[in-house]
């Protein structure tokens, strides 16, 4: 075989991925819809929760209804000597807390980081708070981007460990909700119980629909067929997982609702409507 020309075959364009040469399109996006609406709503929703939770965590009051054993999830477990009598389910591990230290100090940081590193919340705040990107096909404002490749964002990978703790805390919240079927005469059941139960069910839905949970139950397997039980669990978690975003928002709602209800009853704003006791 002969080569009339000895040069090597050439592609029509330089092969470097660095070649810019992009079409010169106007603006940071050509989207004509209201792409800014979603990030705005997300910021508003997150802000409501952060402010509410912040205020309540530091309030140090109206977290316990002694007559019915209603304990708000924001203060569970209440483990300091400052906690109201009866609210220390797990005992008093610490002495008196100063006013600036939230009584829920044991659980709150874990719950906060569990949600901070959650794959859904990450999407939500990367988009709406950090504008990275603000919406699909809308340019982000910063020139450099390294994502989760380095510190601090590489720490997002610890999500699973906070999932394990969050699952334990969900157990505790379940225990709280069961102990709240109480009245001065023994067993009791009121509207507050329904609200606390609803909150616990939703917390479980959010926690179990977590991507790390999906991975741990079965996602990490290469052969589902060899682990039928774990495959079944994975299938169930996968179904919940498709609604992880909904559960993330619903639990924000139910947490606020449960806490607000306990606060108002505790403060005597209105009496808890009782069905039994």
């Amino acid at each position: 075989m002969t080569a009339n020309v000895s040069e090597t075959p050439r592609a029509p364009l330089p092969e470097s991925a660095e070649r810019a040469g992009r079409a010169q399109l106007p603006g940071k996006t050509l989207r004509t819809d209201r792409w800014w609406l979603q990030p705005t709503l997300t910021v508003a929703g997150l802000a409501v929760f952060v402010i509410y939770a912040g205020v309540r965590a530091f309030m140090g009051a109206y977290y316990w209804v002694p007559a019915y054993h209603y304990l708000t999830p924001f203060y569970s477990p209440c483990t300091t000597a400052s906690c109201a009598p009866g609210s220390q389910h797990l005992g008093a591990w610490f002495g008196e807390f100063p006013a600036w230290l939230p009584y829920g100090i044991i659980a709150l940081p874990f719950l906060l980081v569990f949600r901070l590193t959650c794959y859904y919340y990450r999407k939500a705040y990367y988009r709406s708070v950090w504008f990275s990107p603000p919406a699909c096909a809308v340019a982000e404002p910063r020139a450099k981007y390294t994502g989760e490749t380095r510190f601090p964002l590489i720490v997002q990978n610890v999500h699973r460990y906070f999932f394990y703790v969050a699952a334990l805390l969900a157990l505790l919240n379940t225990y709280d909700a069961i102990m709240a079927f109480h009245s001065p005469s023994g067993f009791g059941f009121g509207l507050g119980n329904l609200i606390l139960l609803l909150n616990v069910v939703m917390l479980w839905a959010y926690t179990l629909s977590c991507h790390s949970c999906r991975h741990a139950t079965g996602g990490r397997l290469r052969h589902f067929s060899r682990h039928p039980v774990r495959y079944w669990m994975w299938t169930q978690v996968s179904k919940l997982n498709t609604r992880h975003m909904q559960f993330a928002w619903i639990t924000i709602g139910t947490l606020i609702l449960a806490d607000l209800y306990v606060m108002l009853v505790s403060a005597g704003a209105f009496p808890d409507p009782r069905f039994v006791g």
């Binding site: 002969t2 080569a3 009339n4 040069e7 029509p12």
Partner: protein, 634 residues
Amino acid sequence: MAEVERLPYDVVVIGAGGAGLRAVIEARQRGHRVAVVCKSLFGKAHTVMAEGGCAASMGNVNDNDNWQVHFRDTMRGGKFLNNWRMAELHAKEAPDRVWELETYGALFDRTADGRISQRNFGGHTYPRLAHVGDRTGLELIRTMQQKVVSLQQEDHAATGDYEANIKVFAECTVTELFTEGDRVTGALAYWRESGRFVVFEAPSIVLATGGIGKSFQVTSNSWEYTGDGHALAARAGASLINMEFVQFHPTGMVWPPSVKGILVTEGVRGDGGVLRNAEGKRFMFDYVPEVFKGQYAESEEEADRWYADQNANRRTPDLLPRDEVARAINAEVKAGRGSPHGGVFLDIASRMSAEEIKRRLPSMYHQFKELADVDITAEPMEVGPTCHYVMGGIEVDPDSGAAAGVRGLFAAGECSGGMHGSNRLGGNSLSDLLVFGRRAGLGAANHVESGAGDTGIPQAEVDAAMERALAPVTAEQGENPYTVHAELQQTMNELVGIIRTEAEIADAIGKLETFKQRVAGVSVNGVREFNPGWHLALDLRNMLLVSECVARAALERTESRGGHTREDYPGMRAPWRNQLIQCLYTGGGVRLHTVDQVPMRTDLLELFEYEELQKYFTEEELTGLATGATTGKE
């Protein structure tokens, strides 16, 4: 003329669909340097459109299946006009080719015991089609694309250059083959992107360019299907055979106009969908032809039982071979029993739950929802025949894929002819690609190794070829290629379409003569960089040549068989069965030459019942085969 790049290769494969890629893999594994040239991006070839599956008698679902049964089905489907040696090789080798894909990483749907699942399809006795939902073609092309990449990775590990042995020339169109005497020496191509020319010099060239559907108005084929390989081979001196046999798929979308012709997979019927006319009647029971009497269900009850128990019942006539179904639909529409937009109804909504439909036919659901805003789980589809496949093509040696008449030229896949006879069975196309793509790759490799000689191409020939390619751009004024194309398509569709008559074909041939002037005179505006008008102008030449072959061969064959239906000559005529009509390029047009087929080997003939053979063969051909000597069983 400007200087032009000359690229020497051992093997140049034109076309990067299933057949082309399989040839590339084989030639590279034999240690040769291969260029693969394709009009589209790598991995976009028409093979992705194949939906139903890939036929191979693996016997995973019904272990009565074997190559002999597959061979018989293929011959019956092609009305015994098939090149029997190709049908034999195809039936024998298809299972190995499918299993090989698994070693490349393909993931077919599975049976309960973990083997490749197989589905029913028209004309196949047993569930035989390896499939992945209804996107089997995509799986095939992606698998082979990824195999090519893996070979490139091996080359990179060995030499530091991914493209040391396989280079993909994507969006690059071949306009001419160069020959010296009776052997091929290279090809001229242009980059669609830049309009620059490039000359490939190679002792072996494999054509795997697919079909010709874009010569027809209503077609399931994409713009690429302009008969390039057919035309390149004919101009280089090869013969085309069986060009009168064009398969009209019975079920194409008919509404809205912008999607007219897009395929509705036969899998809809394989999975339980039925055809109904405007009166709601399942009309296929009235259209079982004489040769298939007794092989199909005769009542709706039996047909419905067949889906559940295929051994105890006969299959529904909705799954007759494609030519029969297409003609039946055509007849119903002509009789005024069609759907509002000129098709018939294909109903799966009333026969299966919405969940089940979405699970089994996801891309059909998707296609109707997205393209036509029709929910197939709630209402029947409207379907009608669409030009789908050309059985005719380059005449090749069955074992090596070598084109008759031109040394060093090979062909595989749809652009080759013979394998499917007068009508192709669904599912036999993907297996055809694999079996004969590999064989053409081997043939090309052997030819290189036989010391094919110098491939130097005189510069004057290159210059002349470039000048011919540039004619539409340099012409000062002329007709718009889009207009000419639309009229050519209309002529072929109306006059040489699914039902043909002598008068109409003769009319078409007359019109094609005038098109020769018009195609030669088209002109396009603008630059050479990615100019679709220019690309079409060049493709038009190929479409015209191929259309002339189809029309002339259709006029010549005075019978109806498979994908060729003559209203003035209804029914098969046994003396035509072993006649092949060859098309040869003469410079100004094509001439025909009728030749006898090689008689089928006795051991293959003996696979059939004598009574069945009598329906197709002349008495003369069957002398020597004693009545009852064949058992039809194995």
